[in-house]
């Protein structure tokens, strides 16, 4: 529960081993309660069935938390996916005599692929399309299984036997242990994933799609992975539901059933680790004890959903952590302990495949020279870039100046692949990068900052820097999920490196500060640090000094010099002529989509036509 804490300033605690052990206590208590549950209720079949349902629903809730809570994608088709898993298992078992286990396994890919076929067209467009289409899928699947004969029509499929192992027929409590074990596996894998670069990329994507693309995250791909995880969990849940209920009927998979999961996750706390468990428990405990609420169930869902989305988007977990941090009961999140010393010390503890400090030699060997040739770009008949050509020498600091509306930001957007030019080519170090999407350009070594810094508010300063290394981390998804030694070592090394980068820029005091609390002047430095972290060949900055105090500007100037010394080419759009004259090796003046001068600052700013176009004199 400590991950949502808001107090940013308190740093690492001395006894980290004990802390880690303490963090596991709630999980252990929950696990023990689940395992002891059958004997606590005297093996009462009714209560065990309820516990099973909670465990099965939890699987789905974890998937919903991943897709909605961490990715921000509102999917509402859980009913349909669970229905397919349920019906598939029921039909394979009753009509074809398959065992429960093979039927369950076979259903997973079917549900995942079917879900993907529906998700892909709408996921590309927008969250709303995805939400509406997925909500409609529930009704359609419900209508079709009622209509078809092989799904048993209105009555559904009855007489589904309990699973067997050899000749042993599992009891309900055996099944409960299986479901609890599944939950443990899902929780462990998921929290490993959330703590990794994939988790940070998900959050980056949820809070700023452009920031995610600019560090090389294939956003649609990652969302599809999260969606596939949810689909698989829905399928498994459906299979288990069919044997627990021994009957599968269309009425079980209503729209309300799908909305239940969303409500449960929102109530517990979307995007928090304990949210799904709390939410499912609350929604199970309350209606079970208050039978008279049954006919008001949907209305309660609606009201709760509305109130929480507006007043407490982080649900119960958010409320509890807010209260706790306000009253000082919990220690806020500590940054994973990295010994803070001089960069040299960090350098000494080089280990594994990680890179404790910047690898300057590697950067120097890469060509960050950029050539734009004859770029044209129009928006609805307005020609913003008109045969624009410029040449940025490798490892130089190159400034682009020009009046407002002259096409400077459009130029950056064309270079970074956010816009595709109508004609012309962009070449980086001899390689053509025209026509590639934003994340692919980022992966080729183009980092950028935005006019408004894209700082992820839910992550602390260090994590904001760390996401720069997204495409750089070597540990595979499997290694991350299992939290293997290599994944752990790499994570530690990258954290050390992120620290040293921040220190190099003189911004290490924001390492433990939550993104939303980082002051404006430091945000820019965090973005620059993120770019260094990504070991890009070239860094594009869009008006980095806008709104900074003279002090902060000189800090930024020093930071950009550092970047350049590390071997990265720097391209900046800037209005502060003094700053440009001070640091730029080369200046291009753009006016009405064309380059009207390109030379050293001293030469450029002495030309009369530049002064008239730019300064209006």
């Amino acid at each position: 529960m400590s991950e949502t804490s808001t107090n940013p300033r308190v740093n690492r605690s001395p006894s980290r081993g004990r802390n880690r052990a303490l963090r596991l206590v709630p999980a252990a208590v929950v696990l023990l309660a689940a395992l002891l549950f059958p004997s606590l209720v005297g093996f009462n079949a009714y209560w065990i069935a309820i516990a099973l349902e909670v465990g099965i629903y939890l699987l789905v809730a974890y998937g919903v938390n991943l897709l909605f809570g961490y990715c921000g994608v509102p999917f509402l088709g859980m009913g349909a996916l669970i229905a397919v898993g349920s019906y598939g298992t029921a039909i394979l078992m009753t009509a074809h005599g398959w065992s429960f286990w093979t039927a369950t396994l076979v259903c997973i890919p079917v549900v995942v692929l079917g879900g993907a076929a529906i998700a892909l067209p709408s996921l590309r467009v927008s969250a709303w399309y995805f939400a509406l289409i997925s909500l409609s899928v529930n009704q359609i699947v419900q209508g079709l299984v009622t209509e078809w004969d092989f799904t048993g029509g209105f009555t559904g499929i009855v007489g589904i036997a309990m699973p067997t192992i050899g000749t042993y027929v599992l009891t309900l409590s055996d099944l409960l242990y299986v479901v609890v074990a599944l939950n443990v596996v899902v929780v462990v894998l998921m929290s490993n994933a959330i703590d990794s670069r994939f988790g940070r990329a998900l959050i980056a994507m949820r809070d700023s799609e452009e920031a995610a693309a600019s560090i090389g995250v294939h956003t649609v791909g990652l969302r599809m992975v999260a969606f596939a995880v949810l689909s698989a969990l829905c399928s498994i849940a459906g299979s288990f539901l069919s044997v627990v209920n021994q009957i599968v009927a269309p009425a079980d998979f209503s729209v309300t059933f799908a909305i239940f999961f969303l409500v449960a996750v929102v109530v517990g706390g979307a995007g928090t680790k304990w949210g799904p468990l709390l939410g499912v428990l609350v929604f199970f405990a309350v209606p079970e004890f208050l039978d008279f609420l049954a006919s008001w169930q949907q209305l309660v869902y609606g009201v709760v959903l509305l109130l929480l989305m507006i007043f407490a988007p982080k649900g119960l977990v958010g409320v509890v952590t807010d209260l706790a941090s306000r009253t000082g009961l919990t220690r806020p999140r500590s940054v994973e302990p990295v010994e803070v010393g001089s960069p040299a010390e960090t350098h000494d503890e080089k280990e594994g495949s990680g890179k404790p400090v910047l690898v300057e030699s590697e950067l120097e060997s890469r060509d960050g020279g950029l050539v734009l040739d004859g770029i044209c770009k129009s928006f609805g008949g307005v020609r913003v870039l008109d045969e624009l050509s410029l040449t940025v020498p490798d490892k130089s600091i190159y400034a682009i100046v020009g009046p407002n509306g002259s096409g400077k930001t459009t130029t950056l957007n064309v270079i970074s692949g956010f816009y595709q030019p109508d004609s012309g080519t962009v070449t980086l170090g001899g390689e053509g990068i025209t026509g590639r999407p934003g994340y692919a350009v980022a992966r080729m070594g183009v980092a950028r900052t935005f006019q408004t810094p894209r700082i992820l508010e839910q992550l602390d300063g260090l994590d904001n820097v760390l996401i720069g290394a997204y495409r750089d981390e070597k540990a595979s998804m499997v290694e991350v999920l299992l939290n293997t030694g290599r994944a752990r070592r790499e994570r530690k090394a990258l954290r050390a490196r992120a620290h040293s980068v921040l220190r190099l820029l003189g911004a290490d005091e924001v390492a433990a500060t939550l993104g939303s609390e980082i002051p404006h002047g430091q945000r820019r430095l965090v973005e620059v640090a993120r770019a260094i972290m990504s070991e890009s060949r070239i860094l594009l900055l869009d008006e980095p000094a806008a709104g900074l105090s003279p002090n902060e500007i000189s800090q930024l100037t020093a930071a950009l010099r550092t970047v350049s010394k590390l071997g990265m080419t720097v391209v900046l759009i800037e209005h502060h002529v003094d700053m440009v004259i001070e640091i730029a090796d080369c200046v291009a003046v753009i006016d009405r989509g064309r380059v009207i001068a390109e030379d050293t600052p001293a030469v450029v700013f002495s030309q009369p036509e530049v002064m008239s176009a730019y300064m209006g004199v």
Binding site: G72, P74, L76, I118, P121, S122, R124, V125, A127, W128, Y129, A131, L132, I133, L135, S136, V137, Q139, I140, G143, L144, T146, E147, E210, V255, I259, L262, V266, W296, Q298, L299, Y301, G302, V303, L305, L306, M309, I310, P313, F379, G380, T409, N413, F418, Y419, F450
Partner: protein, 294 residues
Amino acid sequence: MDLTTQVLRDGLVFGSVLALVACSFNIIHRPTNVLNFAQGDFVMVGAMLAAVTMTVMGLPWLVGLALVLLGCAATALVEERVAVTPVLRRSMTSVSWVITTLAFSIIVENIIAKAWGPNPRTVPVPPGLSQDATDIGGALVSSYDVFVVVVAALILVGLELLDRTPLGSALSAVAEDREIAMLRGINPVRLTQRSFLLSGAIAGLAGVLVAPLVLANTSLAVQFLLPGFAAAAIGGLGSNRGALIGGYTIGLVQAAAAAQFAVAYQSAAVFVVLLGVLLLRPQGIFAPKAVRHV
């Protein structure tokens, strides 16, 4: 009775109603970028209020209509106040409104169901018209059918004209950039409220028009949400012409699916058509391609 021409009649009549629903989606979407889950509920509220005012209370059709439009507009305004503006104020880019409008839709549907029960109710047609059908070219068409098609078309023409007034330009300005519109003296919150009022009234009108054909009942909300949005999306969000053509298209697809297979396949057919259009032309047929903002 000829099956093909009958499908044509069903398609045009229900398509006209869908075109109105599609427009009501567009009207809210323009200044807010919000697509409203409760849009189908406005249709349902319109039909139910028509049953209450015209059938139960026995008020004249026009008086009943006025009350229905007021009621639906008011419902929409309540939604704007409690479910849309609070989340938009926090962030223009978050998608919380997807969930809050869904929540509002659940609430409205359940309140109406609690108040008036699940039984379908009849709603009268306007005086002078009837649902007695005559055979025209093999299709059974009534004077009321013609009325529905004409009224929907007139409303769409009216909305198109409205778009060309200063109010229409203001709406476009807000859609483009809320903050810049504000600097030019446009109050986006008031515009948002006005669009909710208008959108609620038009969706309510769709409910009044469709009620005599299908009986007023709470499931209308669900029945009109997907097809109404599909009509807007296929036509291209924001385009009145697109809404009309999208409405007719979806109306025909539904009528054909019902005639060819079974009613259960109606939504499946709409769904397949919508996914197909999204794959080939995500922005719809008439809308301009969206420009990415950075």
